[in-house]
Symmetry: C2
Subunit: 654 residues, 2 copies
Amino acid sequence: MKPQNRVIIENISPQINHGRYAIKRVIGEVVSVEADIYADGHDVLQAYLCIKHESQRIWKNILMIDKGNDRWQADFKVEKQGNYEYTVQGWIDHPLNWQHNIERKIKDKQHVNVELLDGIQYLQHLLKHANQSESTEIKNWITLFEDAEEYQTAIEIAQSEELHGLFIKYPLQKFVTEYEQKFKVYVDRHKAVFSAWYEFFPRSASQTAGKHGTFKDCEKLLPRVADLGFDTLYFPPIHPIGTDFRKGKNNTLSPTPEDVGSPWAIGSEEGGHKAIHPELGTLADFKSLLKTAQKHGIEIALDYALQCSPNHPYVKEHPEWFTWRPDGSVQYAENPPKKYQDILPINFETKAWKALWEELKSILIYWADLGVKVFRVDNPHTKSFLFWEWVIGEVKKQYPDTLFLAEAFTRPKVMHQLAKAGFTQSYTYYTWRNSKQELIEYMSEISQGEGKEYFRPNFWPNTPDINPYPLQDGNENLFLIRYFMAATLSANYGLYGPVYEYLVHQPYPGKEEYLDSEKYEVKHWDWTQETKLTRIIRQVNQFRRENLALQFTNNIQICEIGNDALLAYYKESADRSNRVLMVVNLDPHSTQSAMLRLPYEQMGIQPNTPLVMHDLISDKSYTWSQEWNYVELSPYQYPYHLFVVKTQEIDTAP
Amino acid sequence: MKPQNRVIIENISPQINHGRYAIKRVIGEVVSVEADIYADGHDVLQAYLCIKHESQRIWKNILMIDKGNDRWQADFKVEKQGNYEYTVQGWIDHPLNWQHNIERKIKDKQHVNVELLDGIQYLQHLLKHANQSESTEIKNWITLFEDAEEYQTAIEIAQSEELHGLFIKYPLQKFVTEYEQKFKVYVDRHKAVFSAWYEFFPRSASQTAGKHGTFKDCEKLLPRVADLGFDTLYFPPIHPIGTDFRKGKNNTLSPTPEDVGSPWAIGSEEGGHKAIHPELGTLADFKSLLKTAQKHGIEIALDYALQCSPNHPYVKEHPEWFTWRPDGSVQYAENPPKKYQDILPINFETKAWKALWEELKSILIYWADLGVKVFRVDNPHTKSFLFWEWVIGEVKKQYPDTLFLAEAFTRPKVMHQLAKAGFTQSYTYYTWRNSKQELIEYMSEISQGEGKEYFRPNFWPNTPDINPYPLQDGNENLFLIRYFMAATLSANYGLYGPVYEYLVHQPYPGKEEYLDSEKYEVKHWDWTQETKLTRIIRQVNQFRRENLALQFTNNIQICEIGNDALLAYYKESADRSNRVLMVVNLDPHSTQSAMLRLPYEQMGIQPNTPLVMHDLISDKSYTWSQEWNYVELSPYQYPYHLFVVKTQEIDTAP
């Protein structure tokens, strides 16, 4: 910044912690940048939004527009994965200022011969950059500006659009203020915002009751998962399970020799985070599974759980990564008075942090080399944020397609920090947002709060750890409702699959947990069984694929509807070629009805334009031509509408 | 920041543009600092607010308090003029974490012998810092912790307040996260927030009609200004006035030889910004004036107007500081189609910026050396922001008492930028805020918006440039009302004195300006005259001096009152020893009444506590003991109350 600089630039948005972290986008999304830009006095300013992908050397400049009250704006579309940078430049544009002033003086009938002579310096500036034909014309203009006889012609040129265009094309950038900071955008593949996850325990994949499931069994289930329309199949840890302090059924401390333990107690004599639990099969089996999954359009997501059972090889090989107690034992996980003796946390304050970080990275690279590009990360909020920022950045440098889902159910700022540090997606509080008001507030926070730039929600109606209280009486309608909202409020969602599909709901008494949890035992599922839920899942996943509007989350608009038991929300694609409107009956017991207001204004459609509302759920169409329209939903048919909204009648069936 | 650091610090407030500019305080004020502070996991954190005055070498650490939701807070009081810095540190406090966990385990009846042994490392840490007597005790504790026989005593010590206190006193600061930025507070003398300005033209100070006033005449008026209770007497420019293109009466272009010109057309053959207009007197006269002013507790404020008449010595001596036109003339000020040929703007884009800046600074230093410490700066928004930031900083380094009032009536962001750049006070939009709603919104913006940290308003009901439309019919009540609000809404205020006191109101037809403006001619005032306004000014200035609550602006609380013509507002001193409540009838024509709600909650007083309301204006007292109370104001008595509020009856007179 030179002492003669007169332009001030401040309050650039979007930005996170003054550029400390990147905002996030997926390929094809737009970044709309705004800044306060102004100078002393009344001179004409110009401003550029400057952008560059990390693979490029030359910055691209996009002219910003003054939106009033000294707020300027410009957009850019991200087209490549990886990092973009952006910043803003502003300067007093003396040629444009000269043109602006001469126009006002001519309008005031002042004689502007001195002003014309003054303008020649700006024409000469143009000559330095102009092409051949432009140069010829500009030279001619200079002659006219100097010739008092040609005054009339000269003032026409001075005020011309053509000259204006050349001043914009070849700006005189003197004393340019460039914002002191460059801001970052990290661009992911589309799946970062749009994914449907199915979770099951591989050890429960056998078709034979009482048998420990294997990868081969899992492979046989892939067509089913693909048929349901899921694109991501997530497995709890697949590594050898520790034996010391192994947990019995229902998390008890006295296991029998038959107990299989929790797969999150990772590591035994058979290996650690890069090994496969022998009972699941071999590395070859896992590779085969990955290959078949790819054929079905399914990605396998592994669990990255950074903790060790007491039998993990790290404990002997790298005692410096753990905390040792005065009695010579390793400190186990605890949150007093609770103890987790089967799990040893890693000490991220270790002096040997560098070797530790490298080893933990090598786990991810090991599985990524095999083809795994999606990781569900267990309890990331109990590991160092700086480590996450580093390891996610490192892996993405090598494998930009890699996606990380943060399994953190904790305080809001901690969850947000993980997203800032680089996690692609995050588990959320959705499970505990049930009333209409709670859902509206939560969706507003997600789609309009500061987090919208970096926190990508992934809605799960249940997980192996969470058997939500409202689902514990097993009401099928509520299972349908909570599923449908997860899949349409958020573009990323997941199901702890068989448990949800088959309406498992018995709680561990008094807790928000499952009785006889699969975390501690092998289960058997009749995978051939189909429920009403199975069928609706297949349908909804198909509708999500076919409707671009459902592939984003922040495009949500809550609609007015006059009943606290009814929730209505609208989504449209960025180009407005696809519009959908959802109405959900939150009451699993009774039919509910109300008048719903079409959000004509947000849709950019003239009020009272007739709209064809095609409900994909019931496959019925309605024509609505008023702002307020009647809806009624019975929980005993389908407790929701999923309308595709069209302005032209393409389907006149009633 | 080390890779093992686990604490995150972000969103520190207050701050302006991420610390690019200083927040402002006056001596004795408090800075309340907040920050988001958290770490991974569940360990106990500690945080310091770190502060340092520029004259100090050692940072002072103040323990922060966790206010919930990971937001921490601490206060500090500024006690010296000049710059303070502040930042925030946070760390995992392992000794406190150990104590917290051992307490929970003991409560759970777990045996904690290993934990006691583990704690010895933290006692050993204390030994490194403890004094003699503390050391003796700590060594004893170590022995007890090691002795299984002394288990009961040891666990009592482990849980003791005494040990807790030592852990706080001698913290184990490992892997401390220090926020990457230091923030600044600039501390002024109290006058920066509390001042009463009176403005008159020295050339109109003569007691003899038709005579050009002199500094000697001004000196004779000082007792009057002091008697009215003003602490600052501001003069429009006192320098030689240009002759080329001199303006005649009412800003006409055809002056007679008798016309005195505008004092803002600075500079003639008799000198420039360091010279005195010969007709006003000599430098000795000016020094004498300053000396007498000081005796009366009045500071003289000069006008720092950075522009030149065509006759200013700079034009010949420093042609490189001006913009030259192709016809060999200097570019005069213009805002097409308007022209200001008597004023040449300075070109802040000049290559010779360094010499220019130094010379402009030397003007301020010249007058400051003579004893002038207050400058009203003319149109600062048409000069470079970077220059202001530099020159104000430079002058304050040498004369920290110096105050700068920015005369910028322009767009909000530009006005705010000048305040950020260092202006002590700013003119405001008060003149154009007349309705109750406008006044409430404007006071909320000032006292609660981001600007509250740096933008200090100075309310002027009129200026030589502004004859507000509502005052143009000369209604005395409205003069009283607008005066009273200026002096009590804002702790800084000013009057373009004689014109206001004597209810001058004739407008230049159709404009918000004065007819026969004093800007272009010598006026004669009968300074012996006293109006109702004169008397109320004397009173209100006295009440302002006697009531600390009126000496701050951001302490304002708007009160509920059920009438759109009545405005009520409350202020209290930081220690609540002084409380005042103002009620204003905005309607200059009619009596207005309504119920007013006492803001018991904001006052920190139990509802329905009887309060003695002593109205300083009418010198009557009332006892209010209910939340809602009746008020009635007639514009033909006094259109306002200024209640001093006391919880004890000290005056029982009705």
